[in-house]
Amino acid sequence: MPRITMREAISQALWEEMERDPAVFILGEEVGVWGGTYAVTKGFYDHFGPQRVKDTPIAENAILGAAIGAAMVGLRPVAELMTINFAFSAMDYVVNQAPKLRYMFGGQFRIPLVIRAVGGGGRQLGATHSQTPDAVFAHFPGLKVVSPGTPEDAKGLLKTAIRSDDPVLFIEHATMYQVRGEVPEGEYLIPIGQSKVQRPGRDVTIVTYAKGLELSLKAADELAKEGIEVEIVDLRTLRPLDMGPVLESFKKTNRAVIVEEGWRSYGVGAEVAARIYEEAFDYADAPILRVAQKEVPLPYNRTLEQAALPQVPDITAAVKEVLK
């Protein structure tokens, strides 16, 4: 299988779906002539033309308002948000319109919309452009929230998202575009709402996704040198959340650490831990621990930013703590 970057995988998914279905189109800031802030749509404008690759004003509510309207009349828009933080400017569209129109109009409309949003910290973009507010969006029923951790998953999940008849928020981590991984040749789809064991182990279950997967795999390598074998379950989709592989793993290891880049309070880890306690209480042999971002607005200063974000040593320490 070819090893390609996350950027190429996402780009391939978009390209293939646009080739396959003329109803698919892209809109967002600098997605056309410039080729995308993260160069995901480079070459698309020349190939597909200005009708299907639309540069927009710097107005997220306009981008999403237009996208939702287009979706209601049968197109399949893929709207790009330069950062997920800008979704706050269009919050009504993201959480109040897109996820609810189908319900509120008794199924007369469907919203086959994909919002591609770049999330995460670590690039010194300051407190307002570096957030990982995934849990905020996963809170709302009606909006699927996907956040892949490997190129293979990114491609397969994005293609499925574009074919979904309901809105999908597709979160791409800003520091992972260069991550390489094997991607199957030819067309393939990965269903939304399926967690996956990315590394088998017996001692502790790490539940994570996106950037957390990258960090957890490194932590797992270090722990393996000490004879500790962690099993890593990648959620891949935050809503709908697939607890099956998580519970199966926990029933085997009886100990879990949840790794997320967002803040701990009211976060993904809180949700997953509660679900484990609810559904596998009798299998817990130690309190479940969370590794998450420090409870501060993310600093600009590089040293402070790195200190506030979860790191590999935080994960290895938490794993050792639950093994006590």
């Binding site: 017996r202 001692d203 290891t253 009886n254 009798d282 299998y283 817990a284 042999d285």
Partner: protein, 433 residues
Amino acid sequence: MAETINMPKLGFDMAEGTLVRWLKKEGETVTKGEVLAEIETDKATVEVEASVSGVVRRLLVDEGAVVPVNTPIAIVGSADEAIDEQLSVAGGQSSVVSDQSSVSSEQSSVSSEQLSVSGAAASASAPDRQPAPAMEAAAPPAAGPVKASPLAKKMARERGLDLSQVRGSGPGGRIVRRDIEAALRTVDRGLQTVVSPSTVHRPPSAAEETVALTKLRQAIARRMAEAKSTVPHFYVTHEYKMDALMALRAQVNAYLPEEEKVSVNDFIIRAVALTLRQFPNLNASFAGDKVLRHGAVNIGVAVAVEGGLLTVVCKEADQKSLRQIAAEVKRMAAGARQGKVKPEDIEGSTFSISNLGMFDVENFAAIINPPEAAILAVGSARQVPVVEQGEIKVGWRMKATLSVDHRVSDGAEAAQFLQALAVYLEEPLRLLV
């Protein structure tokens, strides 16, 4: 601050004890470690020591009372302090029962099957973690609720394990999976130590007499009925040529002082232990869907005591010399006969030997001591006419019968074990090297 002294829990399945005798009266001073009372448990009479120094302020139960474990029996404090608080706590908890029949010892007894099932099911988690010593034989009663993980609680519930007897190795003393697994291994190896009772028929007397069962008798009754009704026994008997061993024993003992002399049974213990190393399947326990083969060879030796019998345990007997075995068994047997054994001396056996040789017994069959897989019943070494090369001669012979759990092993293996044992018993110099 006055201290409340409770009925200690001295064995895994001890639910209650009889307070036989107070050695201190109310108002007397007692120093820490001094004997306060004698209690009789299922297995033995044990002394209860004062855990603090002070004045015996109140004895809460009468002599002869049957007291559930962890129930307050006395309050020790300074001469003039108020003990209302302790008294109210004691009053709330204590339900001292004088009528034995109302306390069901069944409730606390744990069937060996329940315990052994999946005892070794899960492998220990991280390889560098050593479980803490599992069973605290004479642990002081735990104060407050037992801290255990939900998984540990579930495992204990499923296998009938009393968490108050398990030491937790997790943070803050929390009991976690590895502790339960360690405790179950201990339990599987040697929870129950009372072996087959010798049957003593009393001559019929003119008037019928009712004899109350001692705790020991009750335990034997319960354990043996359970063993005989749940373990499918079969028996294989072998006759051993004992001429060489009898001669060697006389020779060896000529060099030893009176108190260190080696018995025929000591030779047999060592011979059995060495043979078991070749037959791990008989040093084992049936555990539901699997057989647990024990790592150590711990030989239980039945000792007749007043009103019953106890099994003292010679741990890792395959690693010990004949003189070590002799000295250990002598010490433990003396303790058992005086009714004062240490819990560790009667726990953990993996195979038992019952020897009635001193009573001029030709041969007998013993009941297996669960959860062990086999027991060897040894008769007397006797001089009998034997045929050797077509001639009748006088020779030393001894019969031994192996009782085996048929779920674990079969006749052929039992017979091979007895043959392998012959190599040691008939060429006994092997036992000295």
